[in-house]
């Protein structure tokens, strides 16, 4: 479906979506700098393989300014912590609050990057396919509405042009322009009602409502999809278990926790790292295999 992407994108949308939702979920509920760093780097590496360096770096300033904005905002408003760096308007700006700001910013940025990956991998039709498994009616309604948007846009242009040629848009001034647009809009509404009556008719003609509906399987669930589902389920469960045990707890206030992670909990970090880097590794091995195959030709 995503012709230009690799192995991860060609997975069945269910394991792919599950995997990314797990990572986003764990990221959003962890405060541990180690976990966030793993998630952020894993996500960024994955995004690089999807979007390409050029695209990611052109968005780099957006990500950076977003990061800085949140990192700076926190110490300005939160004055907890025991190590004041300097005073502003009589309030202390503390080291703890500053580091906590960076942590929150990293968490939001990591979640954002994973969401971006999600939107690239789970395209509209894959999402509809996923919804269709449980909510068939909703999926169909969405599919019909998505088709309608470009249609409405084109019709809007056509009606507007026809009205311009009749001299309706010639008056200057905001009110006149607004009235003109309102006329076009009312014509558009009439047209779309008319159109949907006809669409309803063809739907009936093609057996809509005649019996139990099935859904066209856009993708097939293969053995490797199953394996990947199991892989992400196990690792995610293990990470969540670690989280529940407090392995990733890290406090900023009133003073920073003494160590980033205890040596006994390092196994959980590896589990989460495997989860976060899996998409990147899948994509990269595919690319490497291609190169290798091509060099043989």
């Amino acid at each position: 479906m995503n012709g230009n992407y690799g192995k991860f994108a060609s997975l069945h949308p269910l394991p792919a979506a599950l995997h990314m939702l797990f990572v986003i979920f764990i990221t959003m509920f962890s405060q541990s700098p180690v976990m966030l760093a793993v998630s952020l780097v894993g996500g960024a590496a994955f995004l690089l393989t999807l979007d390409g360096a050029k695209r990611v770096f052109s968005d780099f300033w957006f990500y950076l300014s977003f990061f800085l904005l949140i990192a700076i905002t926190n110490p300005l408003f939160s004055h907890d912590g025991v190590t004041p760096l300097f005073f502003m308007n009589g309030n202390p700006v503390t080291l703890e609050a500053f580091l906590c700001g960076i942590d929150i910013a990293a968490m939001i940025l990591a979640a954002l990057i994973w969401c971006r990956c999600f939107s690239i991998i789970i395209t509209a039709d894959k999402a509809l396919f996923l919804i269709g498994g449980t909510a068939k009616k909703l999926a169909l309604v969405l599919s019909v509405s998505i088709r309608f948007i470009p249609l409405m846009k084109r019709k809007w242009r056509q009606i507007k042009n026809a009205q311009i040629a009749l001299g309706y848009y010639s008056e200057k001034g905001l009110v006149a322009k607004l009235t003109s647009s309102l006329r076009v809009f009312s014509a558009l509404v009439t047209w779309s009602l008319e159109n949907s009556v006809e669409t309803g008719m063809t739907m009936r003609a093609r057996g809509y409502g005649a019996g139990k509906r099935t859904n066209y399987a856009l993708c097939r669930f293969t053995a490797s999809d199953g394996a990947f589902t199991a892989f992400s389920l196990v690792l995610a469960a293990f990470s969540v278990f670690g989280m529940a045990c407090g392995a990733f707890s890290f406090d900023f206030y009133p003073r920073l926790s003494p160590s980033l992670i205890s040596s006994g909990d390092i196994g959980f970090v590896f589990a989460f790292a495997a989860l976060s880097f899996a998409p990147f590794i899948l994509e990269v091995t595919e690319a490497v295999r291609w190169k290798y195959l091509r060099s043989k030709i």
Binding site: A165, S170, G207
Partner: protein, 549 residues
Amino acid sequence: MEILTLKNLSFTYPDGDGKAIENVSLSVREGEFVVICGRSGCGKTTLLRLMKNELAPVGKKEGEILFRGQHAEDIDAKTSAGSIGFVAQNPESQTVTDKVWHELAFGMENLGYDADEMRLRAGELANYFGITGRLHSDTATLSGGQKQLLALASAMTLSPEILLLDEPTSQLDPIAASGFISTLQRINRELGMTVILSEHRLEEVFPIADRVVVMKGGRIVCSDTPRRVCELLGNDPISAGFPSAARIFSGLDGKGKCPLTVREGREFLSSFEKKSLPIEEKTHSPEVAFSMKNLWQRYERNSPDIIKGADIDVFKGEIFSLLGGNGSGKTTLLSVIAGIEKAYRGKLTVLGKNIKKYSPAELHRGTVAMLPQDVSTVFIKNTVRDDLFDICRAVGCSKDEAEKKIAEICGELSITEVLSRHPYDLSGGEAQRAALAKVLLTEPEILLLDEPTKAVDACAKRVLTGILRRLAESGVTVFAATHDTEFAAEISDRCAMLFDGSVICPSCPQVFFRKNDFYTTSSSRISRGVFENTVTTEQVVALGKGADK
């Protein structure tokens, strides 16, 4: 074996005066290709919709419809959806979903096909219709012709036993239309599919039809082989839509087998004495209506040029046709002249004044007006009358003045009866004339027409020709962009082709069409070699009458 039988069928709409269908009896054999024709409003659509239970209009029905010996009302929805395929007129409104694959699968999903069956069926049909490469495209990116083919393909996924098609090509350009018709022929020949098709573009369907049913006022007036129909109704007004060969044949009172195709037409004419029609170049007024000098246009800075150095002078009171294929930029050029789009290079002079110096009000009130391709976009009110009054008010007429003007123009365009109707309820021809009335109320000196013969039947086309001629005589310049070679040959003072962004070879129709092999009229192809310089059926008939065998 008979697959579909209508017995003494009559139908009355609840609010209608008189019967929409009156005492119709028809039986269709399996594998037959039946064409239903007649003027718009003759009951073609009602008849076709009655044949499929779910689409049957509400009203009083008498008589019987039998599908394989079973009453149509007794067939359950599932069987009906599966065994009777239906393709409607409008490609936009009969596309349901957003993706091509989903559109193909939609019917099968409704009938509960299982996953493997669906894949196989969709794959098979995508191959047959040549749309495998577009399976994952958005339906919105397809052209009208592609959408109609997709509608046909999705009807075919349910392996119907009979296909009903209600003017499926009326919204398509001639090239897409003939592509559609030949696909339909292929389905009929290769799969033995029974086809019932209502059409007004008869040139291509007559040669492939097994039977033609002609309707008038809800009755069947004739039901026979295409050849017999042409012989029987050769002098009826309905014959305006018949193939050129048949019209020439009946115009010349031919004896024997009526020709239907260009080849048969040439055989018929071959016994005639060779003759030549003098070329009539119409003298045009010396005044220029508008002129383009090296005009260039593109939509965005980085998009390709659509118009590349167009050069042309169009004179006052002239009817000028601009021909060209799909996407050749005809609509774009019209939009530039109408002041909707702007050219980025070159000069466009309208009535001796640069178009840039016009204010929008000046340009669109009394100078240039445009009838768009989709005439429904012209209307914004709930009745035709309201729409016409609205434009009069916008132009600045008093109420009495407006009433007088509207009465006058409605008489001229014969739309007085439809004034109180909703614009969307009109037939193709009526809607076009109503839209034309609205456009003409701005009293333009230059009238631009975009594909004026699309969605219009042969009779309405003839009426339009008359209207445009009268307009031109009264001094209005008519500039039409069209695909329709027959129409251009008949109406134009001059024709030109838009190719690769520039206007090529402006000349009178006789000169323009006589040498072309493909981009020409059927009459020209039929008469070539016997008669010289004849491009319309009228010209062939006129010359043929004088020629002894």
